[in-house]
Subunit: 340 residues, 3 copies
């Protein structure tokens, strides 16, 4: 996707100072500007870069007075930062929707249908009786099992695996290598010490605007559904076990794990590497720190929790400060004992 400086100025309601026919196809930081790219200057701290940048063009304020000669071209707008953001979003949007059509060989099972403006890459696999909405992009090596439903505008990135019977809403993104709907970890211990597999016949439901990170895994329910509610954002390498429910707009950072049947409220923020046991509930608006272990239901909304076995974050830090010098405390007790 290439645009001329003239086209960009017209999108942003600005004016070109230089050659409006020059073309750019990339957005760069001003300190890393290279030919073919466009940057922006908003913070005056970065102004020195303007006079040396190799960027083809820089978006600057209408009011900027040049202190030196420039090699680059300018697009002058009212607010360079918001202008650049507009461009960034347009670029990302175009990038995501540009792909259409079918590359071969690809596989579409009997009874499966795709909407308009979709994309199926070479080596994408769609099983039987799937319903795929409009504008859905299925990238290379993406796997979609039988009877899966995918809403309009959703992107299944390369090598993501959507297992049978999963239901995915609109405008979701499933990042590369994520696994949605794998069997839950259910085994019944037998008298002889062996384990018998408990069939996992439920599914996974992702509501609209859900994002699942690269190589994350979300198990199907034993029966019923594992549910990720509208607008929840899940980072890379997160593990979500069978029958878990994640509330609306909850954000979960990388490498966190949530055990079976736990329900997380809405608008929670869970930092990286947290671990949450099974069969508990976490209240809405809970903040959970990095690496925190949660072993009990959290009833009061809005708390911030932290620690190996979670506590209020301030209490934990107070205790940990003493822990760091625990030998001093021990020595003080020894002194007292000597005196006594």
């Amino acid at each position: 996707m290439e645009f001329s400086l003239g086209q960009i100025a017209s999108i942003l309601g600005g004016a070109v100072e230089g050659d409006p026919n020059l073309k750019v196809n990339r957005l760069d930081k001003i300190q890393e500007g290279k030919p073919g790219g466009i940057s922006f200057l908003s913070n005056e701290k970065y102004e020195p870069y303007l006079y040396n940048t190799d960027a083809t063009a820089v978006i600057v304020s209408e009011e900027l007075k040049l202190g030196k000669a420039i090699k680059t071209n300018l697009i002058r707008v009212k607010d360079p930062y918001s202008g650049f953001t507009t461009l960034l979003e347009a670029y990302a949007q175009l990038h995501k929707t540009a792909l259409t059509g079918v590359e071969e060989p690809s596989y579409l099972g009997a009874g499966s249908t795709m909407g308009t403006n979709g994309y199926r890459a070479a080596f994408s696999y769609i099983g039987k009786n799937c319903q795929i909405g409009d504008g859905v992009k299925i990238h290379g090596h993406a796997y979609v099992g039988d009877r899966v439903k995918i809403g309009d505008g959703t992107i299944i990135h390369p090598g993501a695996k959507i297992c049978a019977d999963t239901i995915i809403g609109k405008n979701c993104e499933i990042h590369p290598g994520a696994v949605i709907g794998s069997d839950g970890f259910g085994f019944a211990p037998q008298a002889d010490g062996t384990y018998k597999t408990i069939p996992q016949i439920g599914n996974v439901i992702l509501e609209d605007q859900v994002s699942i990170g690269a190589n994350s895994t979300i198990d199907c329910a034993t029966m019923g559904s594992t549910i990720i509610r509208k607008g929840a954002k899940i980072d890379n390498q997160v593990q979500i076990a069978h029958n878990v429910v994640i509330g609306e707009n909850t954000v979960i950072a990388a490498q966190t794990g949530i055990s079976g049947s736990t329900e997380i409220g809405k608008n929670c923020v869970i930092a990286g590497k947290a671990g949450i046991v099974g069969h508990i509930k976490i209240a809405d608006h809970t903040t959970i720190g990095a690496n925190t272990g949660i072993s009990k239901t959290i009833k009061t909304p809005g708390q911030t929790l932290f620690g190996y076995m979670s506590m209020d974050v301030k209490d934990f830090l107070k205790s940990y400060t003493i822990f760091k010098n625990l030998d001093q405390l021990q020595r003080r007790v020894q002194e007292l004992e000597k005196k006594g």
Copy 2:
């Protein structure tokens, strides 16, 4: 797979009350029953759902007396719970074995053979000189490297990667995205600060009835074999390093990591996110809590361990309770010092 109520009643040795020709293709919880599904009623607490359920049929006790009118159909059996479990297992079994034949394009390398009743999905890859048993199911985007052996009845789920020379037993399941036999992490430090790759030429052996979770990784041995013994069950996103041995019937929950050359005994239970250092041994029947770090050999079988640096679980909880109020202990010492 659809069955009529008459067929199901005959499998369960029960009687239909309603239309025996109606068909179902799904098992649901009674509180989530929908047309086309069959549920069960075992616990009387759930009886109210019976009178409103949209399920096509419900398995109930021979002795149940209806308190109200019903919209659904009944299959009356002696023990509804065990009847449903029978159905569940039959359903899961059918589901797993139903797929047979070859979808194209698929790739089968020179010298490789497959047994009877197998399945090779479109875009499945099998390298050279592999020996694949009877009833083996190789799903879409599954990768099987050269000289791999796979026993009867094993399922390789979508996108699982089985590297060259791996040996897999009978009735194993390798879940989506799991990697079996990747190179171990071995690098020899050089005088100039760089690292030289130590060739990893061993393999992985999975014995019979082993289950490996989605996106788990099991490295091949430097030389010899990394071994997962009969009946061991490994959850999602578990990392098992080169030359590790996991004992029979040991269960390992998600996101646990086991470093190189460690040997885990049989019938151990390891909870999620545990970390076990390399070159140690863990005795049989050891229980390791979530998030626990193990840094030393565990010789005595049957212990339960927990904590950042593992201890007996009771001792850890005792210490952690005091840790939570460590400022109180410090204040008490201050008080004593003032008095002294």
Copy 3:
């Protein structure tokens, strides 16, 4: 790849004692020697195995005097250990470079070029306008997005996903299932509690001799580049967020996570399951223990850090030893209080 004992003796500058026409195709430990394999005897502790081994041949010292009759054949060299290492490296090297040509079906997008002696497996996907160097091996189900550059001698293992615009140096290895260049986790909170996706338009740069482990994930930069410098070695299931920089020759063990915009120095050693927060710097030659949490910039090079919230490793162990018996310390305070 099969070699006769005569060929091997000639490579190692040694002499065959036995049949020089026998062939071997595998390297084994002497205690696990099997027909068709070659082992070595360096440590005299293992000499008893020499007299029973089923290995086709064993590399031994020129000076070894046999204590008993042997069934195997010998290759006598000056230094058996270094002879075996030579063989091991030659074997691994051959193994990696042996594959050439194109298996079909494979996909090569418009404008993409590959150098000489390369390999593209069946079901490998290469997007548009990629530049792939000489001797690059792209294995089954490997995905290479648009405009990716890959240097000479690099191996992309099965099912690895290299997203658009990634730049990979020479002689790198990307192990199975790794994801390079997935979108960074960036979402801007909105007034109504929802999140808006922040476009991630940067890329990932891997310099020469970088190794990325199985199922690891490295996110692209929001703008600019996430960078892994020359010779860095990353283990399995490691998560590296957007705009992180990893220094030369730094080694990171499995399941570690590094948050956005953090810069790790060169020649650091980071053990498994460590967690490092975003927007900090770690000095060169820092050693970070397993499971350690790092929340602040480390300025002094050469430190060894450990603990839930990292400290100097000796201080942590001192405190943890007291923590383990914290109830004793509490009891001593009680005793003092009673006396007072």
